[in-house]
Symmetry: C2
Subunit: 180 residues, 2 copies
């Protein structure tokens, strides 16, 4: 499953998902961040098949989200490091982690915490307005077509345009059906 081609899509999130949207890819980056940097460590930690892992690693390297570093010659052995480009996806993982902890919590409590290395505080990924600096909820955000999208497809049944107006207020709690 999870091929990587999303056809003629113009939206940048589709292009991002063509690179990191395949099965295991994001989890591999998470593990690299956690310090699992060698092939067999990744296999053990993730439970991914060796063949799939090899494919993903070379794909990630091709796109320069990771780099291979020699850590031993005779037998040549490489470990994998996240590049800056790859590291910028950490926010995505952080948000996914928060979301998972919220709606599918582990019975014994959180499994991972992110900490600000400097001050030791907890780290969250927040939607932030670069103009007024406020932290926003999903309902405070409107999507606009950018320049590259002049006259392209827009929602047909425009009785509800872009946005989430049926959810009201920031960090809304409506229908917050937490479930096991």
């Amino acid at each position: 499953m999870l091929g990587s081609d999303y056809g003629g899509q113009v939206c940048a999130s589709a292009r991002a998902l063509e690179v990191v949207g395949q099965r295991w890819t994001l989890l591999i980056l998470r593990d690299l961040f956690l310090g699992f940097v060698r092939f067999d460590d990744l296999v053990d930690s993730l439970g991914v098949t060796r063949s799939v892992l090899a494919r993903r690693l070379s794909h990630l390297e091709e796109h320069r989200l990771i780099s291979r570093e020699l850590y031993q010659e005779h037998p040549e052995r490489y470990e994998y490091r996240i590049t800056a480009k790859g590291a910028e996806l950490l926010d995505v993982l952080a948000r996914l982690l928060e979301w998972g902890e919220t709606y599918y919590p582990h019975p014994d409590g959180p499994t991972r915490l992110l900490q600000h290395t400097g001050c030791g505080g907890a780290v969250r990924s927040l939607l932030t307005c670069t103009s007024c600096g406020d932290h926003l909820g999903p309902a405070d955000v409107t999507a606009l077509p950018g320049p590259a999208r002049a006259g392209m497809s827009h929602p047909p049944t425009s009785e509800q345009g872009p946005g989430l107006r049926h959810l009201h207020g920031p960090r809304t709690g409506v229908e917050t059906t937490d479930e096991p």
Copy 2:
């Protein structure tokens, strides 16, 4: 289910990806946010197969990330709305969008912009320290095992622990190999 099983993983991001990690799922949520809320609109907008779309929608509804709303009786017709639970993944999409625009830009410029509905400013997803309030880069963050992970697997080759110490400084530019 549906090939989305990430085995015995304890980490919450794996659990999150079991729900939204399948092909098309995140893009479906994006389109719902943009206002494509009916079946055929989604098919046209995404280019996804009808059968796959139907599977994804019912999976998303099962997990209460979306809800079906009757918009016409005789023939019963439903449209799909994002719930608050689903809307909280908007951050993930926002970050993915930014990342895609940065590293795989469309020749004609950005394709989507996110705007603060209140003040009109641009919206970004930022790692934020809840204690000191700073905005952080990936290299400023350390991952800690939480309570549910007492004595579980940690990186074996601990010569590099969790974190990204080989990238230095916030929002580092090292190796920022932008490429076509």
